[in-house]
């Protein structure tokens, strides 16, 4: 896909009273790309989306779509929402209760004064596309939550807006339906080109739907990147812990030839493949890795020399897995263990970390690793 800049958000800020909810946010959208705005509630992601839609006015900064300025606080320009040509799927769906499914979906075209036969034809097409071809005559109240969700999507798609905005669209659905809607959205994107933002507080949703993720916290963008990059190489501790579980241990820097981190109580030494000139020997650092890159085995006499040693303190049976709370050199970490073997509490284990996926942290920030 060619890289064309579709939307530029430049230094956007917004205050509610004294409280700054969006602080100098800058983001770019490429054509055909969906970027998830991910963060805990109150981080400013929805406000950012609403400023793109024209439902909230920024106090500072600018939003441009191709060569159109949608809003600019400095130049005092602001297009009303109806002239921005964006589509939006609301958290509450916001379907109009006094209209049928078909009327809801065709309303945007009626506003655009499209000819009646074409409206009917396009409404039928988009309803078929989302799998509600035969429910056009229903009232909104006669639909299930999932069906309402689809109608909301159809209403946003029908006029082929330049931008699609999703405001936590699946958060009102139950877990099963949510997974299904993710799949359907993915399938839909193969048929229809969509560029836009997807606001969510659900990291799995963001990871599985978006082409890129912008993690927001306290009104700022903390990190932007592809789901895989951002998951494997989080830039901040907040991103690391928000996106999933981390296997993290503290230790002291050891420099004898290479770089290594020694754990307390002789639990082992972690060799680091790379150099970190900023760190001096004896300094306390944190080593972290995603649990998928950790293997835990029963401690045997012939354990790999690079292995750390630990002990299972608590074991919770989850059906398909065990949740094991391990003690490693006096520190506790949580791991998921396969059920193929009968683990027991108190059992000593050997722990091997995949060196290629390690990250070093010093006073809350990632330590960049140079070539060894």
């Amino acid at each position: 896909m060619e890289q064309t800049r579709e939307l530029v958000i430049d230094g956007l800020s917004k205050h509610f009273g004294d409280k700054a909810v969006v602080k100098n946010v800058s983001l770019e959208l490429q054509r055909g790309e969906i970027v998830a705005l991910l963060g805990p509630s109150g981080c400013g992601k929805t406000t950012t989306l609403r400023m793109v839609a024209g439902l909230a006015a920024p106090d500072g900064g600018e939003i441009r779509h191709r060569d159109r300025i949608l809003v600019s606080a400095t130049r005092g320009v602001s297009l009303p929402p109806e002239r921005r040509n964006v589509g939006m799927v609301f958290q509450s769906y916001a379907l109009w209760p006094h209209m049928t499914v078909r009327e809801n979906v065709s309303y945007p075209l009626r506003i655009r004064k499209v000819a009646r036969p074409e409206i009917d034809e396009r409404a039928a097409r988009v309803l078929t596309l989302i799998g509600l071809g035969d429910l056009g005559g229903r009232l909104i109240t006669q639909l299930s939550g999932g069906q309402q969700q689809r109608v909301a999507l159809a209403r946003a798609l029908i006029y082929e807006p330049a931008l699609m905005l999703f405001d936590e669209p699946f958060s009102n659905l139950d877990a099963q339906l949510r997974v299904q809607m993710r799949l359907e959205l993915k399938a839909l994107r193969r048929k229809v080109e969509m560029t836009g933002f997807f606001v969510t507080h659900d990291q799995t949703e963001a990871l599985s739907i978006a082409d890129r993720i912008a993690i927001m916290r306290d009104g700022r963008v903390e990190q932007v990147g592809t789901p895989r990059d951002i998951y494997k190489k989080p830039a901040t501790r907040f991103v690391r812990d928000f996106l999933g579980r981390a296997f993290a241990l503290r230790g002291r820097v050891v420099r004898d030839g290479g770089l290594a981190i020694a754990l307390d109580e002789g639990a082992g030494v972690i060799a680091i493949p790379g150099s970190a000139p900023a760190l001096s020997g004896g300094e306390e650092v944190e080593v972290s890795i995603r649990p998928e890159y950790v293997s835990v085995t029963p401690l045997a006499a012939n354990a790999a020399p690079a292995a750390l040693t630990g002990r299972i303190v608590d074991l919770l049976f989850n059906g398909d897995t065990f949740e094991a709370h391990l003690s490693v050199g006096g520190q506790s970490v949580t791991m998921t263990l396969p059920t193929g073997r009968d683990w027991v509490e108190g059992e000593p284990v050997a722990i091997v970390l995949d060196a290629g996926n390690l990250q070093l942290w010093h006073s809350g920030a990632v330590v960049p690793l140079g070539a060894a």
Binding site: S92, P97, H98, Y107, A156, Y159
Partner: protein, 582 residues
């Protein structure tokens, strides 16, 4: 020693009597059944006797019984019906759009002082109409009204343009008392709950502000507007005292005042009154069914609970619209009350031109007058007794409606407790009168305070049970079940868990019933006698005979009592309502 120990000791098994077994099996239904039976009698019997009377009159009076068709040809009957429709139409056609506009301003915009204004309309709804209209006379009386004399003095008009004693005077009196206020009270919360995302979705889809308002907002709010409209129409048949006081001098009768004059004749024309009442009930029936249908079906509910994000900004119109609202509320709320107080201190009501117009004589003489003190005692007795009866009975009715064991019975009770709100007071009054005259067992009630309290009891039952019902629904049955599970009996749980939790609502209800009862006119006007007459009826009699100064004194007293009641309700509401916080 426990029951099982008895059995083990070899006590002979006793055959339980059938009645006892029935009570054990169905006993849980018994309270609800008794309540339903009592209510059915109290509500349906008066109505039935009105309809019966319209066909057969009362045999006792020896008045010739006519056919419906002949009776309808009596002079004035059809005209009274037509006038009723005219007043209802005038009030609704003006009141509805005004109320929709005000509610929209209060609920959906950033007009300063929204909360205060909403409270203002709520207080307005609380005020007794007669006092307010009494105050208006100082302003709009055809001969001495201030507005008329002002315009005449400045030569702006040739003849006095305003006349309270006219069709338009009656319409204005309705609008300035409760007609607009009650609509604003009902519409504002509905408008506030409207999900602002519906508007936003329309804007995003390409609709402009105006288009969004007419194509999305108005149609989506239409059910709420419609139900308020139907309720207001039903309520407009309720009106009596304004028409009696302003209409009779203008020779303008509506059905309710006509019933009153028919019954005031000697001998009373029960049949004609019954025919008028039955005709109105027939006209109302479709409205009543429609209202029930809409409210039970709840059609499409726009309420999402999420509410709107940020009200519409009025921009530079903010302060002008705030000012307009202040002036409007000041005009229809504060002005007539100020005039009423002034009027109670005037030597000759309305004559500001006298050399020494002010006096406290009305207050002195009235308080020395035994008629007045009897009426004052009656008013307080009736108010307190009605509130007490309400606390005792509405709580039980509401409880049976919310927690009764049988769904069908619950539905029936709900319908029964809702029905009286739709029956105009004068018809209720007529029905009660025929009921005590016809049922031997009840005849001793005639001419007592008891029958007035009973009429008030029925007139307030809808409002009262509704308040308790809402509170009990919010308390939730699990809280009560928890009380049972830990070992409390039903009575103990009711007393120590449900009642304390519902207490604020019960207190609010008692005060409201008190306020409604002391200003009650229509539902009791045919039932009160010289001995049992409360202040509201005495005030009406004064007004109807042009004794305006003393009437103003009573007006001030009733308005003051109502205001105090309103403030108490507000205070309890603010202090204890947790549910209103979102």
């Amino acid at each position: 020693m426990t029951a099982s120990a008895h059995l083990e000791a070899g006590a002979p098994p006793v055959e339980t009597p059938l009645a006892l077994r029935l009570i054990r099996r169905h006993g849980g239904h018994l309270p609800a059944v008794l309540v339903a039976l009592a209510l059915t009698f109290l509500i349906l019997y008066p109505l039935a006797s009105v309809v019966y009377g319209s066909f057969f009159g009362t045999a006792a009076k020896g008045v010739a019984v006519q056919s419906w068709a002949d009776a309808l040809r009596q002079p004035g009957l059809l005209e009274a019906l037509w006038n009723t429709v005219k007043v209802a139409a005038g009030v609704q056609i003006i009141g509805m759009p005004v109320a929709v506009g005000i509610s929209w301003l209060l609920a959906r915009t950033d007009i300063p002082g929204r909360g205060v204004f909403e409270f203002g309309f709520w207080i307005l709804f609380f005020l007794p109409a007669l006092g307010v209209v009494n105050g208006w006379l100082l302003f709009f009386d055809p001969t001495y009204g201030l507005a008329n004399s002002f315009l005449l003095r400045w030569g702006l008009v040739e003849a006095a343009p305003f006349d309270m004693y006219s069709y338009w005077g009656i319409v204005f009196a309705h609008l300035s008392t409760y007609a607009i206020a009650v609509k604003v009270m009902l519409l504002t919360p509905a408008f506030r709950n409207f999900d602002g995302a519906l508007e936003e979705a329309a804007r995003i889809c390409g609709a402009g502000r105006v288009q969004t308002f007419f194509r999305i907002v108005v149609p989506a709010l239409l059910p709420a507007i419609l139900i308020v409209f139907v309720m207001s129409l039903i309520r407009s048949f309720e009106s009596f005292e304004i028409e009696l006081f302003l209409g009779i001098p203008a020779n303008f009768t509506v059905y309710s005042t006509r019933i009153y004059t028919l019954m005031a004749q000697d001998p009373p024309e029960l049949q004609a009154a019954g025919i008028l009442a039955s005709s109105i009930l027939m006209v109302m029936l479709p409205l009543v069914v429609l209202q029930r249908w809409i409210s039970v079906r709840r059609s499409y509910v726009v309420v999402t609970g999420r509410g709107a994000r940020g009200p519409a900004t009025l921009g530079w119109l903010r302060w002008p619209s705030c000012l307009a609202m202040v002036l409007a509320l000041g005009f229809i709320g504060v002005l007539p009350l100020a005039l009423l107080v002034l009027g109670s201190f005037m030597k000759l009501f309305g004559f500001f031109s006298l050399a020494e117009p002010w006096t406290t004589d009305h207050w002195h003489t009235l308080f020395a007058d035994v008629t007045f003190s009897t009426a004052l005692v009656n008013t307080l007795t009736i108010g307190l007794a009605s509130a007490l009866a309400a606390v005792l009975c509405y709580t039980i009715v509401a409880y049976c409606t919310v927690r009764g064991r049988s769904t069908a019975l619950r539905g029936y009770l709900d319908l029964l407790s809702w029905l009286p709100a739709t029956v105009p007071g004068i018809i209720l009054s007529l029905g009660f009168l025929t009921m005590v005259l016809n049922v031997g067992l009840l005849r001793p009630l005639y001419g007592t305070i008891g029958i007035i309290v009973l009429a008030n009891f029925l007139a307030s039952i809808t409002l009262g049970t509704q308040i308790i019902k809402v509170a009990m629904l919010q308390i939730g049955s699990d809280i009560e079940e928890a009380g049972r599970v830990v070992g409390g009996s039903w009575l103990r749980t009711f007393r120590s868990i449900l009642l304390p939790l519902a207490l604020p609502a019960i207190a609010v209800m008692a005060v409201m019933v008190f306020a409604v009862s002391i200003r009650q006119v229509g539902a009791i006007v045919l039932l009160s006698t010289g001995q049992t007459r409360p202040l509201s009826i005495l005030q009406l009699e004064f007004l109807a005979s042009g004794i305006l100064g003393p009437a103003a004194v009573i007006g001030v007293i009733l308005v003051a009592l109502s205001l105090v009641a309103g403030l108490i309700v507000r205070w309890i509401g603010l202090r204890y309502s947790v549910q209103e916080r979102s």
